[in-house]
Every structure is written in structure tokens, then in C-alpha cells.
Symmetry: C2
Subunit: 381 residues, 2 copies
């Protein structure tokens, strides 16, 4: 099976490292014949080209593996590949979360498939386990740690007691965080992954912008100390729950019991839980990023296409995102505790522990409070 | 696809509960047409029979799902089913770990398959994830919590500080432990599962009796307190590592860092980690027992057979079990600390913390020491 690889950076480089060296017979059938690179200095392999047309117009190439990142031109290349009857594998959560409806429609029209295991918790493996579960029964909810960069920062802050900025810089120097870390620390990365999980688990197309998001930019060592004192730990969660005519989806820090699996997820690991009727709760823990685990997921997707495994897309719907039904207590650390007096169950200094209210109510209050340094977390004890 | 179900107890009852009520189209194709029961009072369903011949000789039945437990007659029924060209799905770790070589040979001869997801960590799902990983690369090692009953007892002892016997009785009253709990508490159950994991991950037939085993019969609240003081937790582990001409396999309590995922596995949950070159470490957490999670695994196996998924049995080998190469430190709590003086790195009262030695050396010393109440654990910090 001839494959055109788009992008030869961290993930794309990992893909050729695996496919070129793997001795497993079936993997040897996966032949990367052309590689799109951006810059001249990347033309290190005779298969490399800077001209996408050479790949997209090659009738021998059956599958495009898109590992470029960013929305354009990745989206256009993926769409053109599908239109010309090529399967697409992508590791690009931002692009695919934004363009899933269009690309899955094109895939259906052209009798090909799109796979995106590498886009969400690459090394877990998350998508394939969701597919397996929901072959038998609907996944009713999911929750967990979808972002390794922020988990690295939080777990390091727990260890050292040092402030956020220090461990963000450390994560950047180690290559765990990008120079522009907004997507990670403000939760957008988790938002894309939450949307893609809802797509796989609940068969609904969700515009990521509809998912309320709060990241960890304002987290302080004091918040972690407060959690620890109360036998809890802080983690950044993506959360989803299937309803009848709507889905609950949000991204926000949580405080969970220190005895939960999630509380012991260290460094840049991911851990995501699914729940369904007869299987119950199952948690999958693995490396969510990194060259080889992510490339492993791309190659697994290529093998699924090679073996013609059913991607179980099913009939897609467009359920609205509703966050007004479930109620939670929240931890809020704020410069304006008086603003939150009405919803406080307990208050001590600048910490407010709220009565139960919905995510939607909470996000409205956070927007109104005017405190840019406010930190809030869903209490899941 | 017509299925003959052998056994209609906890697991078998769960299987018909799922297949009879599931609304997913593909699952509706799985039709349990006959059910073997033991006693007359179990003849509650028109499909039930006490005569195995009716099922084994039914030419319409393509698959036998064996949920009886025990070696005989389960083994004979499975062998006869394979000989007559029927696929076999089993939830019976004891029978399959003991008879795998014979049954897989019969399956190969007759062009059918044997699946055993439900036999090891049912709700995890463990076997299917191993199959997926090793489609791309060899699994190099595994370790983890394979037994829910003992994990329930240990995690309850951590909570209450009460002795082993009390929480064993509690587990029995809740139905988590059998009236005769030897298989669970002495580690034999984990031994079967470790052998079956080695079969799937390392493609080697292992006689479970070759795997050194120590259970948790002698564990005391003092052992757990010692672990906690040293920022560790105790868990019962199955462990495996692939070597070139041998495999390392053992079952024994471990002391692991309190920050590890395993330390936060509570109640009767299982958690097993696999390691491989590009995927790295991945941990799978779920309910290892219970009617519905185990039945879910049986039905998933039936679906894999229905979809003709390759069980990736590969060429099987007969690697010896060797536990003399890897070295560990051990915690030993004993009435005869002087006996262990030669291998002690530190000693305090009745606790000996050893220098590094092999599992084989440790088991020899434990056998020689003459202390029936001795408790020992591999230190994995």
C-alpha cells in the first residue's frame, strides 16, 4: 500500500522511522513513497518533495498521512486527497476538529475513510478502544487528562512548589511545550480533542468553539497546596456526557480525590476514562504526545486501513452542547471573593468553595467577575 | 451466527443478558441458541439443556462460549468443539492456561480460532490491546494488578488498618472472593493470567507451574504502614519480560512508589501495563471481574470471530521461564530476621530490606527460612 506523507517534522519523522525499519511483515507492506516537506533543508531523503501536487496527483498513492499541523494547507490537501479517492490518516487535531463534518462527508461520498487515532492521546490508544466499546454498546461518558504539556507543568508544580511560569519555561526548554504555548495552557488543545472524542463516542459533529474552556494559565502553588490539604489533586480535564438531545462537553481544571488514578498521572502522560453500561469504567493511560508514540498511532491507523477495518463512523448527528443540567461544586481562588458571595458554600480568605451550580452558570460568573487572575476548578471528589 | 453457551452462572448469565437485550445490529446477529446448565433448577430458559451432546453435536452451532470454570469437563468440551470445526471463546483462565498448547494446536488443525479476552482482566480490555500493539512491534514487558479480589483486600486494609482476615471475610460476603479463596489469595489466579499474557504477548507456551508465585496470605497492616511511611504502596503483581531465549515471569507482592498509577488502583479494579519500543508504556485500567464486564469481553470475542478478525496467534515457541537474571531489592517482614542477615542491606526489628538479588534466589531463601508467616515484596520504587 503506497502512502504519501505530508510533513516530516516530529510526527512525520517518527512515521518513516517506524515504517522504514519495522520488521513485521504487515508493516513492511506500508510503503511511504513520497514525503512533502516545507523547506529546502528538509530535502534529505530521495522521497522528499516541496511540491504537494506530486503527491496528491500520484495515482499509485492510496493513502495520505497528514502530519503537518495547522489548519491550512493541511485541510485543503486532506479534502483533495479524499475527493480523489485516497484514504486520509491525520495526527492534526486542530484541523480535523475544525473540518470533521466536511472531511467525513467527502470520505463517505468517495468511499474512503479518515482515521485520527494520533490526533487524540496518540499512545493511549484511545480512539481504537472507543471504537471497540461502542461496537457493543454506546459510550455514555468520558473524562480525563488529554494534554501532556499542562499535565507536566501541574505535576512538576506539585513536586517543587514553584510557580507556573517557571515550569512552563522548563516544559518549553524540554520541548514539551511550544514557544507559543497558548493552545496548550489555555485548553484549546483539549477542546479539539474533546470535540473529536464526542465525534467518535457520541457520533456528533461539534464545533470546538461551542465547548466552554478554561485552562491553567492562572494556576498557583497555593491552589495545589489547598487541594493537597483536602486530599485532592488538580488536573486539567476534558469531559463529555451523552444526553438524549444534547451533549455535555467542557474543558476545565478539576480537583479530584488524591486516591483517583488521575491524581497519580505524572509528567506528560495522558489518562482518559470511558464509561458504558456493561463494561463500566475503563481508564487508558499512555503517552499523549512525543514523536514515536504519536507516529505509532499513525502507523496503527495505516494498518487499520490496510486491513480494511470498519472505522464505525455511523450516522452523524449535530447535537447541541448544553452545560446547564449537571451541577457541581467549584473551587474558586480570586481577588474578588465578595463577587462570589452569593454562590459560596464556604469562604476562607481568597478561596470560595461554592454550592452546586452548572458549568454554564460558572463560566458566566467567571466572565463577569473581572478578575483576570481567577482560578477555578470543578470539584469531582 | 449460532452460539452454544456452556455454563449459565455469573459470566454465562451476563452473556445472555447482553446478547438477548443488545440493540446494536451486529450484536443481534450473535444468537445463543443452546445453553448448557448443570442443575435442574437452572432450566429456566427453553434454550437450556443438561446434555452437552445436544450442543457439541449441533451442526448449526459455529461457536462455543465456555463460561463453566474448572478444568474438566470444560477442557474436554472445548477440545471436542475445536475438533468438530467450531470456534471457542473462553472466560476460563485456569482451564485455558493449563491446556493452551493442546487447544491452540487443535484450533490450527481445524482452521478455527480460540479467543480468551474474558480470561484475563475482562473489562480492561487487555488481550485486544496486546494484539493491537504487537501487530506493529513486540511487547517487551508487562506488569500489573491482575486480580480484583486481592486488590480489594489490600486497598481496604490500607483504608481501615484492619487485618487481612477481616477484609477477606468482607470480600467473601460481598461475593468478590469465593468461599474457598486459595486461588485468589495465594496468587494462582494471577499465575494463570500471567501465563496467558505471556502467550499473547511473547507467543510462548508456559506451564503455569513454572511461574514462581507468592500471594498475600501473610500480609499484615504493619507491612502496609511500613510501605506508606516510605512513600510506597503494596500491590500483588504479575510480571513478565521477554528475553532472547527465555522469559522472565513471576507473581509476587510489590512495593511501588505511592505516585505510581498502580498505587491508586482501589477496590476490585485491575490495572496492567505493557511496554513496547515506540508506543512506550501504556496502562489499561478496568474491572477485572464481575458478571457484566466479563460477559462484555466474551461478547467482544464473539464479535471478533463474527468479523473474522485475525487473532494473531503466530508461531508459538516454548521458552523456559528464567528468574535469575533481573535483580531487585526486597522488603521482608519475618520472625527470623537473622536468617536473612547475609542479604540484608538494612534491618530494623523484624523488617529486612535486602540488597539486590534475583527472584529465584529470593524464592529459595523464602522456602528455606522456615517462617510460615513471612511476607516479602519486590521493591519497584
Amino acid at each position: 500500500m503506497k502512502i504519501g506523507l505530508l510533513g516530516h517534522g516530529v510526527v512525520g519523522g517518527g512515521v518513516t522511522e517506524i515504517t522504514d525499519s519495522c520488521k513485521v511483515r504487515k508493516v513492511r507492506r506500508l510503503e511511504v513513497t513520497k514525503i512533502l516537506v516545507k523547506d529546502e533543508w528538509e530535502l534529505t531523503d530521495p522521497r522528499c518533495t516541496q511540491n504537494a501536487e506530486e503527491i496528491l496527483n500520484d495515482p499509485e498513492i492510496e493513502v495520505i498521512a497528514e502530519c503537518m499541523g495547522g489548519i491550512e494547507p493541511a485541510h485543503t490537501f486532506a479534502a483533495r486527497a479524499l475527493e480523489s479517492g485516497k484514504h486520509v490518516v491525520t495526527s492534526n487535531k486542530k484541523m480535523f476538529a475544525t473540518c470533521a463534518a466536511e472531511l467525513l462527508g467527502l470520505a463517505k461520498e468517495n468511499g474512503v475513510s479518515v482515521r485520527y487515532e494520533a490526533a487524540v492521546g496518540g499512545g493511549i490508544p484511545w480512539m481504537s478502544n472507543l471504537e471497540r466499546t461502542e461496537r457493543l454498546e454506546p459510550v455514555t461518558s468520558f473524562r480525563g487528562i488529554f494534554n501532556g504539556t499542562t499535565n507536566y507543568i501541574i505535576s512538576r508544580m506539585e513536586e517543587t512548589g514553584a510557580p507556573f511560569a517557571e515550569h512552563l519555561a522548563e516544559a518549553q526548554s524540554l520541548g514539551y511545550a511550544e514557544r507559543n504555548p497558548v493552545d496548550d495552557i489555555d485548553g484549546h488543545d483539549v477542546r479539539y480533542k474533546t470535540a473529536l472524542t464526542a465525534l467518535k463516542a457520541f457520533h456528533t459533529i461539534v464545533n470546538p468553539d461551542e465547548i466552554p474552556v478554561m485552562g491553567i494559565r492562572t494556576i498557583s502553588p497555593g491552589d495545589l497546596a489547598w487541594a493537597k490539604e483536602h486530599q485532592m489533586a488538580v488536573r486539567l480535564f476534558g469531559y463529555g456526557k451523552a444526553g438524549k438531545d444534547a451533549v455535555t462537553l467542557w474543558v476545565m481544571p478539576v480537583m479530584i480525590s488524591a486516591k483517583e488514578v488521575f491524581a497519580n498521572i505524572q509528567s506528560n502522560f495522558n489518562a482518559i476514562e470511558s464509561e458504558s453500561k456493561t463494561l463500566g469504567k475503563a481508564v487508558f493511560v499512555g503517552q499523549g504526545a512525543g514523536a514515536l508514540p504519536t507516529a505509532h498511532a499513525v502507523v496503527q491507523d495505516l494498518l487499520d486501513i490496510y486491513e480494511e477495518k470498519d472505522p464505525r463512523v455511523g450516522e452523524l448527528v449535530n447535537l447541541p452542547v448544553v452545560n446547564s443540567e449537571e451541577k457541581w461544586q467549584f473551587y474558586i481562588r480570586t481577588a474578588v471573593p465578595a463577587f462570589f458571595a452569593e454562590i459560596a458554600a464556604e469562604q476562607e480568605g481568597n478561596v470560595v468553595f461554592t454550592r452546586e451550580l452548572s458549568i454554564q452558570e460558572m463560566f458566566e460568573l467567571l466572565k463577569e467577575c473581572g478578575d483576570e487572575s481567577v482560578f477555578a476548578a470543578v470539584v469531582m471528589k
